[in-house]
């Protein structure tokens, strides 16, 4: 017998029991025996037997009782009732009570083996049925689980989701959909199209009213409120049936307010840049027109002045374009950085040397205080140079004649702190607020003659930020300005990230 079916023989007659055991074992069965009903129940409920042959008449327990108790626990064990008092009635009774077969005693070996073989086939069928039933249960559980999982995900989405069937009836939605549509409530299976914003309805109707299935998605953007405070992007995608016809439409509503804001800032920046670029061009254009206009008589002095002014304005235009390119490089993070150990005091000394002529011409006194060996930092030399050149250049430009500049490098736990203080014109509070804005330049009697692109401090701020540093400003109008730059000693995460991008 293939697979060695497990058989339990329950019989109080020793000879019969052991005889049957030997016979069945020879035929390839694995046989356990029980000498009475109680033992039979105990074995039959513990082990998972394929087959059981149970004697009907036993002193302690009736065979039918044993069968019932085994079946209660192991319904798939195929049980035969064996009895010497074979009669038609007992056979019927036994099958009624759940016996799978009936073995009359005495029995022939062939008869017994044939019965057991049939019984074993039945057992295999029972097991298969059981397996299928369990599979089905598991699948149902899985489906139920999938459904709750999907609902949980859909409900947790920040994006609004609304699904309609091909009749335009709501099939599924999430709380965000209510927020962005906006609707107080949606009923499943209600005709939702008329309740929607006309633009969204039109987008969905595009699919519902189309003669053929449209495979592509459509998007539109709209302001949620009249004050244009919230913008949403609506994307509709079709859902096909397996046969390729339309089953429904999925609408996703995404809050794009932040993106819109960035877009707006960008356009404002472009406008500002255009204006700033146009101003020097307009000035040069004006001078050239005058120089070439025969109807206007100019003195040689005027001609000379116009040419000089034009050169000056073109020069500042060029500087501005270079500054803008620097800003764009820092923004796009394409700056090739070489992080090395730098000695900040050496860098500042070099910058001061480069500016020595301007410093002398304006009669400025520069005091530079630092502790030897306590001004090293890991950074890109060019950027640090740029940062402090811009700040020192400002301290010179916006200073009073015969004023002073105090530069001080000190060390705190995590930062190298550099202060650059001038005795210049200082700033008003409203000017201080806009200090780091692109193109902001303080405009007053003092600054009239000072040239600049309005981008220097904006670049300073970007460099400091990119090193996870900090820049603060203290200023009093008419008295002077102090910049405090704190740069971390250690290379920050941000810098490593840049390096990886090389």
């Amino acid at each position: 017998m293939p697979g060695h079916p497990k058989v339990l023989v329950v019989d109080d007659e020793d000879l019969l029991r052991t005889g049957m055991q030997r016979l069945l074992e020879m035929e390839g069965y694995a046989v356990d025996v029980a000498a009475n009903g109680t033992e039979g129940v105990s074995l039959g409920t513990k082990g998972d037997y394929d087959l059981a042959i149970i004697d009907l008449k036993m002193p302690d327990k009736d065979g039918m009782e044993v069968l019932k108790e085994i079946h209660a626990d192991k319904p798939n064990t195929v049980c035969f009732i064996a009895t010497a008092f074979a009669s038609f009635d007992t056979a019927i009774q036994a099958t009624k009570l759940g016996a799978d077969g009936y073995i009359p005693k005495p029995f022939s070996v062939e008869e017994l083996l044939q019965q057991l073989q049939l019984g074993y086939k039945k057992r295999l069928l029972l097991l298969e049925t059981e397996r299928l039933r369990k599979d089905r249960e598991n699948r149902l559980l899985e489906i139920a689980f999938e459904r709750t999982r999907m609902n949980t995900i859909v409900n947790a989405l920040e994006d609004g989701v609304l699904v309609v069937n091909k009749n335009g009836e709501a099939v599924l939605y999430n709380p965000s959909a209510l927020k962005y549509l906006p609707l107080n409530e949606i009923f499943i299976e209600e005709f939702i199209i008329p309740k929607l914003n006309p633009q969204i309805a039109a987008l969905i109707n595009h699919y519902l009213l189309a003669e053929e299935y449209l495979p592509q998605s459509f998007s539109t953007q709209l302001a949620l409120d009249e004050t244009n405070e919230t913008f949403i992007q609506i994307t509709c995608s079709p859902v096909p049936h397996p046969d390729g016809t339309l089953a429904g439409v999925v609408t996703v509503l995404k809050n794009i307010t932040e993106l819109k804001k960035i877009e707006q800032l960008k356009s404002q920046f472009v406008s500002m840049v255009s204006h700033e670029l146009k101003a020097p061009m307009a000035a040069v254009y004006g001078y050239l027109k005058l120089l070439s206009d025969d109807s206007i008589t100019l003195t040689g002095e005027q001609r000379q002045k116009f040419i000089e002014r034009s050169e000056f304005r073109l020069d500042s235009l060029l500087k501005m374009v270079n500054d803008l390119l620097d800003i764009s490089r820092i923004e796009m993070k394409t700056v090739h950085r070489e992080i090395i150990d730098l000695n900040l005091s050496e860098i500042i000394k070099t910058i001061l040397e480069l500016f020595s002529l301007e410093i002398k011409n304006r009669g400025l006194i520069v005091c530079f205080f630092f502790l030897e060996n306590l001004s090293s930092i890991k950074a890109d030399a060019e950027e640090i140079n740029r940062l402090f050149t811009n700040l020192i250049s400002n301290a010179i430009k916006y200073n009073q004649t015969n004023g002073r500049i105090d530069i001080n490098i000190s060390v705190t736990e995590n930062f190298l702190v550099t202060t650059i203080a001038d005795s210049g014109i200082g700033m008003k509070n409203e000017e201080k607020k806009k200090l780091f804005h692109e193109f902001f330049r303080a405009k007053n009697e003092f600054t009239k003659e000072i040239s600049g692109t309005g981008l220097g401090l904006s670049i300073v701020k970007r460099i400091v930020d990119s090193y996870s540093g900090k820049i603060e400003v203290e200023s009093e109008f008419g008295k002077g300005t102090k910049f405090i730059v704190s740069l971390p000693f250690r290379t920050s995460m941000k810098i490593e990230y840049f390096e990886n991008e090389k």
Binding site: A279, A282, A283, L290, I296, R313
Partner: protein, 126 residues
């Protein structure tokens, strides 16, 4: 010969414009910011005001024009504009923008003279 006040924060534009208008025989007084410009107009009662749209703030030229009108100064105003259109200000000669005409930068001297003469002519006819 007319008296003209030009208010623009760009000294080169002031220089060039003044020279053009001087060459046509006009007297020109200039200011580089809205506050000085306002005072200059009050003190000098010019025949025409030329005003840059964007000085310290993106639209302070507009506000200054409105301030003149509120102060019952009815002198024609010619406005210099550059990129204000793209910043989102709707352009047009109306109550919000109480000016009489625009000249787009860079300024063509012949166009400037033409518009100035036209506005002065209209003022005379009134």
């Amino acid at each position: 010969m007319a008296k003209i006040v030009i208010i623009d924060d760009d000294p080169d534009i002031l220089d060039a414009s003044s020279l053009v208008l001087n060459s046509k025989g006009h007297e020109v007084i200039t200011a580089t910011n809205p506050e000085d410009g306002y005072q200059l107009v009050i003190d000098n009662s010019p025949d025409l005001i030329i005003l840059d749209v964007m000085m310290n703030e993106p639209d302070d030229g507009f506000f200054l024009a409105q301030k003149f009108r509120r102060s019952k100064i009815t002198v024609p105003i010619l406005m210099y504009s550059s990129v204000s259109k793209t910043i989102g200000m709707s352009f047009g000669v109306n109550e919000l923008v109480p000016v009489d005409d625009f000249v787009e930068k860079p300024i063509s001297p012949s166009l400037l003279v033409e518009k100035v003469e036209h506005l002065l002519q209209l003022r005379k006819e009134k």
